[in-house]
């Protein structure tokens, strides 16, 4: 349908609507159409507003034009994470830091502590008394009595809680929509028809890149033509050997991950507080994160997965286990030992996170240098057979996820950590772009970038965000805040601030409903139990419906094949058959509608 046809139809619809409006007929259908049109226009306006702060559009177009959609997905992911941090910064700065700065413009720094350059790396010293960390915030209700009061405790708690909830909602929404768009009903291999018709990347615009892709496609087609049919089942001894190798490598990789975690724990139990020595822990953690994945990629040589995609999944899972176990050990140490030992322990944890973030940044830069620049030099000048390196999207995205996990854990302990994260991601974008254009070549195999996207968002949600959220929730719910610093000093737990607020509200008659909601909904276990039960029932019902529909689709597909091969007639008999099958007719009707749209 051409644009002019669409405009013509739109004109007719609008004319009909205004005609109907003047005759007051069928108000409900008109209302619903007007509402949907209003939503669509509103959505367009919001997209327009979002585009005014369009960041890096030209750069991303250039990268996409030269390297294709797979590599571009890394940069889009980076930009998306940057948006989370910008939002976090705005919220924290606006609601927590600015009131603190208004009422206490100069931080009370003890005598003898001045700004030395080392603070930028260690985060301790001068910074530990400023608004950078939890300890720099007061616990008083600011402002004069009466109307203009600002309760720092409630502000701190609700800002962090609101940010986490919004982040969680955004992640769940992205994960669900990505899964819906990219879900495949039956997993077909990368066959000939796919290579021919679906694999060409239309967004590649650079001449050299296009030539290279055509070359790669030609090589792949020749390979797939000359492939012999693989033996379906290997003999039993071979299969046992493969399973043995898998078991060995998985045990080894998990063992290495746990071993690194334990060594980090014992390292931590050593000396802690001399300033330069505090850099040792983040250095070791980042070194482990850089070196151990290289070991994991060596396992590729001895394992034989039937599907190359399983190999990528295996690497991803191993890396995630490694990073999350190290973070888990660190969090355990902070919650158990640091919380009991130091007086202003939240600031100590904040400083540790700051150092981890900075050191991670330095190591990513180093990794880019060794991984990409040196590989390029070695591949082109020394060992010609290796060739120019490819950009490893999976490893880089996992690094980003790790960096974001650190930022999410640090939200409670260091409200201004997002600033560091924003600067880090900004520099990282340009660094990776330069490294990419100078050192890497476009990927040789057009892979399953879309499904990898879904997996990355899922990893960002499940171990990363949920882990950070549970740690912050545990801190807020159970751990006693330090008595000498921070907005929650003197309370039993951070959550008691809410309890106190509810008691205050109880005395005012107008807010009794809020207190009722708090006592009977938020604090009652029966409510959560009932909600969980209802959700489980719904999940079960929807799963049964989904399975029934999948079966129906298989049957209908078979019917299409049977009917067309038996009669070789037009669409009429398909229509007749599908009328008998009620819920599946949506599928067939859609096929027919599209067919008739093309033919008309």
């Amino acid at each position: 349908m051409s644009f002019d046809d669409k405009k013509h139809i739109r004109g007719q619809v609008l004319a009909l609507k205004s005609f109907k409006k003047s005759r007051h007929l069928n108000c409900f259908a008109d209302c619903s159409k007007t509402v949907s049109l209003a939503f669509r226009r509103c959505g367009a306006n919001m997209t327009l507003a979002k585009q005014t702060l369009e960041l890096w559009r030209g750069t991303m177009k250039e990268v996409g034009g030269k390297f294709g959609t797979g590599v571009l997905s890394y940069f889009k992911f980076l930009k998306w994470l940057l948006m989370f941090n910008i939002f976090s910064f705005l919220v924290n700065f606006g609601f927590i830091t600015i009131p603190q700065l208004i009422y206490h413009p100069t931080p009370d720094i003890p005598a003898g502590v001045s700004f030395k350059g080392l603070e930028i790396l260690t985060g301790a010293g001068y910074f530990s008394h400023t608004v950078m960390y939890y300890g720099g915030y007061s616990n008083k209700t600011q402002g004069t009595g009466g109307r203009s009061e600002y309760n720092m405790q409630l502000a701190y708690f609700f800002t962090v809680a609101a940010y986490m909830v919004l982040c969680g909602a955004a992640l769940i929404y992205s994960m669900a929509s990505s899964f819906r768009k990219k879900y495949v009903l039956a997993d077909s291999g990368l066959g000939g028809a796919w290579q021919l018709l679906c694999s060409w990347d239309f967004s590649v615009t650079n001449e050299k890149a296009v030539r290279q892709r055509k070359n790669n496609l030609r090589i792949q087609l020749k390979e797939s033509l000359s492939e012999k049919v693989q033996v379906a089942l290997l003999p039993l001894t071979e299969r046992l050997k493969h399973y043995g190798v898998f078991l060995g490598t998985w045990l080894l990789s998990t063992g290495m991950a746990l071993g690194c975690g334990a060594s980090v724990y014992f390292l931590f139990s050593g000396s802690l507080l001399e300033e330069a020595a505090t850099l040792l822990l983040p250095f070791v953690v980042s070194l482990i994160n850089l070196v151990v994945p290289l070991f994991y990629s060596l396992f590729k040589k001895i394992e034989h997965y039937s599907n190359p995609r399983m190999q990528v999944y295996a690497i991803i899972v191993r890396n995630v286990i490694l990073k999350m176990s190290i973070l888990g050990i660190l969090c355990y140490y902070w919650m158990k030992d640091v919380a009991n030992t130091f007086s202003c322990w939240e600031s100590i944890v904040g400083q540790a996170l700051y150092r981890l973030v900075i050191m991670d940044f330095l190591f990513i830069m180093l990794g880019s240098f060794f991984g990409e620049f040196l590989s390029n030099v070695i591949g082109t000048k020394c060992i010609q057979s290796l060739g120019v390196p490819e950009f490893d999207v999976a490893r880089n995205v996992l690094d980003l996820i790790y960096a974001q996990t650190l930022a999410w854990i640090g939200i409670y302990f260091s409200p201004l950590l997002p600033v560091i994260q924003i600067i880090k991601f900004f520099i990282l974008f340009y660094l990776k772009k330069v490294s990419l254009t100078q050192n890497c070549q476009p990927p040789r195999r057009a892979g399953r970038a879309a499904q990898m996207q879904t997996i990355f968002i899922a990893i960002l949600f499940f171990p990363s965000f949920v882990g950070a959220l549970s740690m912050v929730a545990y801190t807020v719910w159970t751990l006693p805040p330090s008595d000498k610093c921070g907005p929650f000093r003197g309370l039993n737990t951070t959550f008691s601030a809410i309890q106190i607020w509810m008691d205050d509200l109880n005395r005012v008659d107008a807010f009794q409903w809020t207190v009722w909601i708090y006592q009977h909904v938020i604090r009652s276990e029966i409510f959560y139990f009932l909600v969980s039960l209802i959700i489980l029932v719904f999940i079960y019902i929807f799963r049964q419906i989904t399975q029934g529909r999948q079966l129906l689709i298989i049957l209908l597909r078979q019917q299409i094949v049977n009917v067309s091969s038996s009669e070789l007639s037009g669409p009429t008999c398909l229509v007749h058959q599908s009328c008998c099958v009620r819920s599946g007719c949506v599928y067939v009707m859609m096929l027919l509608k599209c067919r008739s749209n093309i033919f008309s």
Binding site: F3, R10, K61, V184, A193, L197, S203, C594
Partner: protein
């Protein structure tokens, strides 16, 4: 945005926003690109909807299309006369169908039309062979081309009539989730 631009009326903007997936800013950008293809032919003022069509040769000289193996077919599919002469509306339509937010069904329909070289609403073996030649720039031998196309036809042809109808094509696309992101022209 304080300046009053007089390229399109508000009504025209609303029409564009409703019929395509673009916002005002993108429509103006597209108009800028259309204008710079032929500054003498394309007027800066579109309020009275002039009927200017640009020939195929000018359109495929755009950097987004210059290196694309299917550039001629893409422009022909979106032109009204089938010869590749695009008016501004067709130009906007083309980029809208190939933009990021266009739904999969729309992209599938247009992909099918693009690969259908002889415009008979089926992808027959000749269409597949022409597609393959565009993609490999004629570096495969004729036997190899034949083999690849026969294999592709076997895999995708569900109803066994040795040509791919739209539903066969759609079925194949539904197994390729990357299609949404690779079938995409960035403006």
């Amino acid at each position: 945005m304080g300046n009053k631009q007089t390229i399109f009326t508000d009504e025209q903007f609303e029409a564009y926003q409703d019929c395509t997936f673009f916002t005002r800013k993108e429509i103006l950008q597209l108009h800028g690109r259309f204008h710079e293809l032929a500054p003498h032919l394309v007027p800066l003022d579109y309020t009275n909807q002039p009927d200017i069509r640009l020939p195929l040769a000018l359109i495929v000289s755009m950097p987004e299309l210059k290196e694309n193996p299917f550039r001629n077919r893409i422009v022909e599919v979106f032109s009204e006369d089938g010869q590749g002469n695009l008016s501004f509306n067709d130009f906007v339509d083309m980029f809208s169908a190939l933009c990021e937010t266009a739904p999969r069904e729309l992209k599938t329909i247009y992909a099918f039309k693009i690969y259908d070289f002889n415009v008979d609403n089926f992808l027959c073996k000749e269409d597949l062979e022409k597609t393959l030649n565009r993609l490999t720039k004629g570096e495969l031998t004729p036997e190899e081309v034949n083999l690849v196309c026969s294999k592709a036809m076997e895999e995708a042809d569900l109803d066994g009539d040795s040509k791919l109808s739209f539903s066969d094509f759609e079925n194949m696309i539904s197994k390729a989730p990357d299609f949404l992101s690779t079938f995409h022209l960035r403006i």
